[in-house]
């Protein structure tokens, strides 16, 4: 089996989570979710479509993965939606299937935070802002991903909910919720959620011990089945990923 980077593995994991015919939306810094979508199209989900952030391009397949979500290297695409239409369809709630997102903080119930660490009025760290994360519950489900699996990122409760996760007991009067986050992909592991909506460990990446994950997570993961080892990217998956990543963005 070939050498692979952990980001390539993350792309393969996210790709396998996507189903044929689904429509995926993603935001800023789209290389990883875009690689996952293109890999899925090239393998098991030829009819999957994806929309790249503010560009509104639908399933663009440029020669190399883009760093940004709004640049000219995302054209041409078979069609492009104006951003205000993407926003409308995110609100409509039945147009998109999967939202790929992340956060400065992700909590035990999959809530995301791109606003601030600390008090909102006078934050210790001001994040960039929430962009489209409030629409997370409007897709059938979401896939969360981050390059930072640390106790500062993975917290019991986010300091500010800017992207809603699963409802907790106290939130049961919340008026609207679909499936919620289904998967969390990090450089160490894949995680999912139990029936109460609390995060648990699903698999550890090759070379990572469950204890490494527990130590890197700032809250107690819910108990679940024995974690497996994440299957690494296959040679076929790697060949596809590298066909559109000549610059090795996923290997940095």
């Amino acid at each position: 089996m070939s050498e692979w980077s952990v980001t390539e593995l993350m792309a393969a994991v996210m790709s396998r989570e996507l189903r044929d015919g689904e429509v995926v939306v993603m935001g800023a810094v789209p290389a990883l979710p875009m690689a996952a979508c293109r890999l899925a199209r090239a393998t098991h989900a030829p009819n999957l479509e994806f929309i790249v952030g503010g560009s509104g391009t639908v399933s663009p397949e440029p020669d190399r993965l883009p760093l940004g979500s709004c640049g000219g290297d995302l054209a041409p695409a078979a069609t492009t939606l104006p951003l205000p239409d993407v926003v409308l369809l995110e609100g409509r709630g039945d147009a998109f299937d999967v939202f790929c997102a992340g956060g400065l903080q992700i909590d035990a119930h999959g809530n995301c935070n791109l606003i601030c660490v600390g008090e909102w009025e006078r934050p210790k760290l001001r994040g960039p802002g929430t962009v489209g994360l409030p629409f997370l519950p409007n897709t059938k489900r979401s896939i969360l991903y981050t390059q930072s699996h640390t106790p500062r990122t993975f917290v019991e409760r986010v300091d500010f909910v800017s992207g809603p996760g699963h409802p907790t007991g106290a939130d049961e009067d919340r008026p609207y919720r679909k499936e919620g986050p289904s998967l969390v992909v990090t450089p160490l592991a894949t995680l999912d959620f139990d029936d109460s909506g609390r995060m648990r460990l699903r698999s550890v990446h090759p070379g990572v011990a469950p204890q490494d994950v527990y130590a890197a997570t700032g809250f107690e993961l819910a108990p679940g089945p024995e974690p497996t080892t994440t299957p690494p990217p296959t040679d076929e998956e790697l060949a596809v990923l590298r066909s559109f990543d000549p610059d090795g963005i996923l290997r940095r």
Partner: protein, 275 residues
């Protein structure tokens, strides 16, 4: 005579202490020739309204200490990192943030362009902490058809809007090339509209452009011809973002002292180059 220099356009159409909307998404299509002119003249902005994802067009004005409050779903530098000016001013308690998300902002601009005073927001935002911290933009409204309470966002009409378009024809109609982002709806909501363009084409040359990819001259107060004027952001299909120049900005803006020197260089950038 809607064709003006950046200096004339900014002087005539941006009132000190008014509301300014700036277009451009992430590291593309920021109307920097106009923004740099605001910095050069040190015109204070009472309220800065951005696209759903602003970068240097917002951070530069903020780092220069010109912005009192901001309505923005995102100020950052995408794959290059966080926004140093925005971080410093918010963390220091000197910049008021009217927290808003992409959807509510887009709908607020849509409403402003149509004489619609507010819009009940779609599901999702109600599950976040955002509306509770921003009573200026969000209030509870009772749906008269169902009796249910929900959040509504107030409409936005920026006093002045700056956007960058690809081309103007000689009659001062303008056209977008690839991506209109939310710049077009922000332009429709503007009370005064200044459009920076990369080039001028003959009258009639935009007749084949699709409706929705152009703006007619009667909506535009001034067109500023500024080839390359989105630098250091890119203009899709014409030039890419200059990551090196953006990196220099990011390093300099971390510290007020180095930023002062950098600012002098930045605002000098257009001195002879445009028009």
């Amino acid at each position: 005579m809607p064709f003006l220099d950046p200096a004339e356009a900014v002087e005539r159409f941006l009132e000190p202490d008014s509301g300014l909307g700036v277009g451009g998404m992430q590291l593309s299509a920021a109307p920097m020739a106009l923004v740099r002119e605001v910095v050069r003249r040190r015109i204070p902005v009472a309220r800065l309204i951005t696209s759903p994802s602003a970068s240097i067009q917002a951070d530069l004005l903020i780092a220069a200490g010109l912005v009192r409050e901001i309505v923005s779903p995102y100020v950052g530098f995408e794959y290059l990192g966080l926004a140093p000016g925005f971080r410093r001013e918010v963390e220091g308690g000197r910049l008021r943030v009217l927290e808003i998300d992409e959807g509510s902002l887009t709908h607020a601009l849509w409403a402003g362009s149509g004489g619609v005073p507010f819009v009940p927001v779609p599901p999702g935002l109600d599950l976040t902490d955002i509306p509770a911290v921003d009573p200026e933009m969000f209030r509870r409204v009772t749906d008269p058809f169902t009796g249910q309470e929900r959040w509504a966002v107030r409409s936005l009409r920026p006093d002045t809007v700056f956007i960058a378009c690809a081309v103007a024809d000689e009659a001062a109609n303008v056209a977008f090339d690839r991506f209109p982002y939310t710049d077009r709806i922000m332009a429709l909501a503007a009370r005064r509209l200044v459009v920076q363009v990369e080039e001028v084409v003959p009258a009639g040359a935009l007749a084949d452009r699709a409706p929705g990819s152009t703006l007619p001259s009667f909506l535009i107060d001034a067109v500023v011809v500024a080839p390359g004027g989105c630098h250091p952001t890119g203009f899709p299909g014409r030039y890419e973002a200059d990551d090196e120049a953006l990196g220099s900005y990011l390093r300099a803006a971390r510290d007020p002292e180095t930023f002062g020197r950098h600012l002098a260089e930045i605002v000098g950038e257009d001195a002879g180059g445009e028009r």
